[in-house]
């Protein structure tokens, strides 16, 4: 084995930070708390960079065994770390973006009463996420997987005194559990048939297997179950419902967990399991269909949202759909590429949105913003970069990755022009709603509370996200919330860095360099044919398709400009004329209500009547009571054996000995 990189330090560092802040943070000053949080997440990032600098001298994949963990028979799962190009990339994205968001959070959360708790949770999340991406087997990955779910739950419900935040946290957790159930069963199947969960051994066994072209076999089942897990974590149809609600959490959380890192864990998992999916074409198709549908579906909902964070939430779901679409056509590197660029520009979008919300004093409704570009130029310019990037304007990052996906969706042997078409339509919608957000927020006249109504504002809990447990903790910026104001430097700096990354992040793919970098990971059977058929389809088609997707982006910009800048009155009239369709979209197609009626309510009712009153109270409690009573009865009679009399004790021992000897003589004679 190559010399140890001490990979285990990378996840452990944030854990140490979390422990320090969690245990002692409340007694320390905010400066100390933020110092600890930033230092440990920064150290993890630095370590990741160092590892990245070492890879030329390593033979990847690099395995590192920290300590044995579970050994049962032949089965073993250890604390082992697995480093290849894919996990290295994830490592850099997670620790890098995570580090920036730690910085940002210091400014954003400074006045919150739970500052140290927040920082501790954030570090804890980093620990689990880094464990997830570095895990050397599915079981350790699952620990990270569950751990990020836990951190997400804690952070969504960070303002737990607020009812909606607490229930949003619960919703996220429960919906994720449904996905985890699929993931777990997939793991059980893997253990049963391959008797290992270690990536190295497992993939060694799977590599020689033939694709299950006709019908569905074991690998298809495993693939589909893994997809269920991925759909839960990455908010795909039908398990996407938790993500919009998750916006109840503080904005840095939305940026870090629910845009840049955690929600992409599903994509990472599918990419990591690509050997399984490669050999299960039908599962692959399901992934592509789910991804494509989610992309379109979420984008349409995004049009009608008025809450700035909700728009971004649906946009995230939609972009994740793109990534799954890419994975579903076996273009994993395109999916991972989009994952990376998305982490930059969506993280930036959320942070900028947080800065906007911060500026206007906790307002999230875009209808009460407008004209903000004069007040918050930094935020405006960085957000502009991000918006153009997500809309797919060249030469920004989003253009390269999205175009790569669309091209692969068209040209891959697993792809089809249908995927491409829906993808382009979605790109158009994406461009439209993002520029809608842009125009509504930054252009026109400021529609929010005027400085004159300062008195009214002061009576409201003027928190950043309008729901802090302690209103006094928030309203001490010195300059009030009457006029929108720029955020402090420590928040602007991450914005600027991410803006640069959103701008140039896509250039790494020029000339296919990105794909070649990841090629060793995905080099197994089918991906090769993706590249081949791409070459066959030819360069002219590629140029044409690229032109179409740029046209879609530009027309989205134009339409948004026309509707929300030129003719601001028009959208309302259009909405009115659309009637039912608009209402349906506005209400997110009533999916939440549907789930409520079909699953939640019957479950609650069934639990109450059958499980609680029937099974629990009558059957189980009854049985237990009877059993306990009879056990006490027996026990009562047994205690008479214990007379306290020495001679009777000796008698018992002697009797036992006699029995033992009698038996053994009988056994020996026989």
């Amino acid at each position: 084995m190559t010399p140890s990189l001490h990979l285990w330090l990378i996840p452990i560092l944030p854990l140490v930070g979390a422990a320090i802040n969690g245990l002692m943070g409340r007694r320390c000053s905010r400066h100390a708390v933020s110092g600890v949080a930033v230092a440990f997440s920064g150290a993890a990032f630095a370590m990741a960079l160092w590892v990245a600098s070492q890879i030329s001298s390593l033979s990847l994949p690099h395995l590192e065994l920290l300590s044995p963990w579970i050994r049962a028979g032949n089965f073993q799962a250890d604390f082992a770390f697995f480093l290849d190009q894919l996990s290295l990339l994830m490592l850099l994205v997670v620790s890098g973006v995570g580090f920036l968001i730690h910085l940002y959070s210091i400014g954003y959360m400074w006045d919150d009463a739970g500052f140290s708790r927040f920082m501790s949770y954030l570090n804890l999340f980093m620990f689990f996420m880094l464990t997830l991406v570095l895990a050397g087997n599915y079981l350790l990955m699952f620990i990270g997987w569950e751990g990020v779910g836990l951190s997400s739950y804690l952070l969504i419900g960070f303002w737990f005194t607020k009812d909606s935040a607490a229930s949003a946290g619960k919703k996220a957790f429960i919906v994720n559990r449904i996905g985890d159930f699929g993931f777990l069963i997939a793991l059980f199947l893997l253990i049963k048939h391959f008797n290992t969960l270690n990536f190295a051994q497992l993939f060694e066994q799977i590599r020689p297997l033939q694709p299950e072209v006709a019908g569905a076999g074991l690998l298809t089942a495993i693939g589909l179950l893994l997809m269920v897990g991925a759909a839960g974590k990455s908010a795909q149809i039908p398990l996407y419902v938790w993500l919009p609600d998750a916006m109840e959490g503080p904005t840095p959380v939305s940026a870090l967990i629910h845009a840049a890192t955690m929600v992409t864990a599903g994509v990472y998992m599918v990419a990591r399991s690509h050997l399984i999916f490669d050999r299960a074409p039908s599962a692959l198709t399901v992934v592509a269909i789910i991804g494509t549908l989610t992309a379109l579906f979420a984008a349409t909902i995004g049009i009608a949202q008025t809450d700035i964070k909700k728009v971004l939430a649906y946009s995230t779901i939609s972009q994740l759909g793109y990534m799954f679409m890419a994975c579903g056509v076996a273009a994993y590197s395109a999916g991972v590429f989009h994952l990376m660029t998305h982490a930059f520009f969506k993280g930036l979008l959320f942070l900028a949105a947080g800065s906007v919300i911060h500026a206007v004093g906790g307002e999230q409704d875009m209808r009460r913003m407008g004209g903000l570009r004069k007040y918050i130029p930094w935020t405006f310019w960085t957000m502009t970069v991000a918006t153009f990037a997500i809309a797919g304007f060249p030469p920004l990052a989003g253009f390269f990755s999205k175009d790569e996906i669309l091209w692969k969706a068209y040209s891959s042997p697993h792809g089809s022009w249908v995927f491409w078409l829906i993808g382009v339509v979605t790109a158009f919608i994406t461009s439209f709603y993002m520029f809608r957000l842009w125009f509504l927020t930054f252009f026109g006249e400021y529609r929010g509370a005027q400085p004159s109504s300062k008195a009214k504002l002061a009576t409201e809990p003027a928190a950043h996200d309008s729901h802090a447990p302690d209103p006094h903790a928030h309203d001490n910026h010195g300059h009030g919330h009457g006029t929108p104001h720029e955020s402090p430097m420590i928040m602007v700096l991450p914005l600027a860095i991410l803006a640069v990354l959103s701008f140039v992040g896509g250039w790494v793919a020029i000339g296919g360099r990105f794909e070649r970098f990841l090629a060793p990971v995905f080099d197994s059977g089918l991906t090769a044919s993706v590249a081949e058929s791409a070459a066959e389809t030819g360069g002219s088609t590629e140029t044409l398709l690229m032109g179409i997707s740029i046209a879609a982006a530009v027309s989205g910009l134009f339409l948004a400009w026309f509707l929300y800048h030129r003719q601001p009155a028009l959208p309302a009239r259009i909405a009115a004329s659309l009637g039912g369709v608009y209402t349906a979209v506005y209400n997110k197609y009533y999916v939440d209500d549907l789930y409520n009626t079909v699953f939640v309510k019957p479950l609650l009712k069934g639990s109450t009547t059958v499980l609680w009153h029937g099974v629990d109270q009558a059957a189980i409690d009854g049985t237990v009571n009877v059993a306990a009573d009879s056990a006490r009865h027996v026990s009562d009679s047994v205690r008479h054996m214990q007379s306290g009399n020495l001679r009777s004790y000796a008698g018992w021992v002697a009797a036992g000995a006699a029995a033992v000897i009698a038996y053994i003589i009988w056994a020996g004679v026989r």
């Binding site: 300590s67 049962a72 021992v653 036992g656 000995a657 033992v660 038996y663």
Partner: protein, 499 residues
């Protein structure tokens, strides 16, 4: 005649025993020279130092595995495991005792000395491969325990405990000794390796069966398995709480080590049903009797019987997984039970006044830290995941299932469920009942804090990362199973008579 002079390596192989005995002697010499207060502090420190040196010596000893003193002692992974375990237990028990001695106003000298001498016996039991030496080691540890059980001299119950333990213990040891004699008669040797070879080569004489039965009676008494368990509740109730911790973990671990060697290394004939019945009886009787106990020490005594039963399940399983599971179980049981008794001994107060279940009412409010640690140990005793107790039970029952012992596993699982009831009763008492009367819970002193922290850490470590310990146990098990390759050194076994 070169064989008669022991080499340096021989001494290294009994170094922990030498170190412990040396420190015991130091305690004995210093004791008459110090007054009460001084003896408590100084001698406690020396005893702790001795236990830690013993631990260090065990690790040093691990570097030179092999036979020593004319094949009477064998150092292998197995004995190293138990040496480390027992010295660690002794260290924690000594830490627990500091405060206890002061509160109970017990003179410390002989107490610490006896603990160290007892430890000599216990450690020697795990490395001796010669039945007569095992017997001597057993007696060293037992006699220390007899005396220690009576150390609360002002209490009648403690004297009763000591006397009962002594009389019944001697009674049981006689069985063991008789078994050894018969085994010698059957095979012509008292060396475990030689016995094993003789039984394999010449077939099993009838006498050997009886010998096994008698040895099983003697060891069964020491590990408190049914039907030789009757002494346990009375003795545990009267003995000082830290000593109960030592008896129920250290002595027990040592006795189990002997039982493992005797049963598996000799590959004892006819053991299966003996163990089966004894395991089932111990689990059932222990758990059922514990249900109605109101005295926490008594309750834990019955729980200890039940746990001996779970452990015996591993003995009925196939040797490979069985031995390692049993070793893991002793380790994790030691961690949680020493911890539990540490809490009990702190809470009991002067003259061990507060030991009934009712006294524990409302402890969760009065001393959250104490209650929380006790809860961890109780959850581990139940076998809730992320505690050592979970993996201990898991490995034992999976070993049993692998060996096809479906019924025994079923009995074990049912018993675990029953067991959960009385452990939970304590937890319910601590957290959900209003405190009755005024019981002042003293501050947790540093020594006890360290002891509790160590126990909690060990319990959780075994529950979260069982891999390392289990790995070691598995390796020891394989070594134990093929001793003949390792043990047959060119040196001929001298005739038994000359020893």
């Amino acid at each position: 005649m070169t064989q008669t002079i022991p080499q340096v390596a021989d001494y290294i192989r009994i170094l922990p025993e030498l170190v412990l005995a040396f420190f015991g002697l130091v305690v004995m010499v210093l004791d008459p020279l110090l007054d009460d207060e001084g003896s408590r502090k100084t001698l406690g420190g020396i005893a702790l130092l001795g236990a830690l040196c013993g631990l260090g010596a065990s690790l040093w000893m691990a570097q030179s595995p092999g036979l020593a003193f004319w094949n009477m002692v064998r150092v292998d992974s197995f004995s190293v495991f138990f040496h480390v375990l027992i010295t660690a237990i002794v260290a924690v028990v000594i830490l627990t005792s500091y405060e206890y001695m002061a509160v109970q106003r017990i003179r410390a000298g002989e107490y610490y000395g006896l603990i160290l001498f007892g430890a000599v016996g216990m450690t020697l039991m795990s490395s001796a491969v010669e039945l007569v030496l095992i017997f001597i080691a057993l007696e060293i540890s037992s006699i220390s325990s007899y005396v220690l059980a009576g150390f609360r001299r002002r209490e009648a119950s403690s004297s009763e405990s000591s006397l009962k333990y002594f009389l019944l213990g001697s009674f049981a040891t006689a069985f063991f000794l008789y078994g050894v004699a018969l085994m010698f008669g059957a095979t012509g040797s008292t060396n475990i390796t030689a016995i094993s070879q003789a039984l394999q080569a010449k077939g099993v004489p009838r006498l050997a069966y009886v010998a096994v039965a008698l040895m099983f009676v003697g060891l069964g008494f020491k590990v408190a398995s049914a039907p030789f368990h009757v002494w346990t509740p009375d003795v545990y109730e009267g003995a000082p709480a830290p000593i109960v911790a030592l008896m129920s973990t250290g002595s027990k671990a040592a006795a189990f080590a002997v039982l493992l060697r005797v049963m598996f290394e000799i590959n004892t004939p006819g053991r299966f049903w003996l163990i089966w019945v004894s395991a089932a009886l111990s689990m059932t009787l222990g758990n059922l009797s514990a249900l109605v106990q109101d005295n926490v020490k008594r309750l834990l005594a019955y729980s200890s019987i039940a746990h001996a039963g779970y452990l015996l399940v591993a003995f009925a399983a196939q040797p490979g997984p069985g031995i390692s599971a049993a070793m893991f179980y002793t380790a994790s049981y030691a961690a949680m039970n020493v911890g539990a008794f540490a809490v009990v001994s702190h809470f009991a107060g002067a003259e061990e006044r507060y030991v009934t279940l009712a006294d524990y009412a409302g402890l969760g409010r009065r001393s959250p830290l104490l209650a929380a640690t006790l809860t961890i140990f109780l959850l581990s005793l139940i076998g809730i995941p992320i505690t050592g107790g979970f993996f201990a039970k898991f490995y034992v029952f999976s070993a049993a299932l692998k060996s096809g012992l479906v019924w025994l596993t079923l009995i074990g699982l049912l018993n675990s469920a029953i067991g959960a009831y009385y452990y939970l009763r304590i937890i319910v008492m601590m957290y959900m009942r209003e405190p009755k009367g005024e019981i002042t819970v003293r501050r947790i002193p540093a020594s006890l804090g360290v002891a509790l922290a160590l126990s909690v850490l060990a319990t959780l470590y075994l529950g979260v990362l069982p891999g390392r310990v289990l790995d070691f146990a598995l390796r020891s098990a394989t070594q134990l199973m093929q001793p003949h390759r390792a043990a047959i050194t060119p040196a001929p076994t001298p005739p038994v008579g000359t020893m």
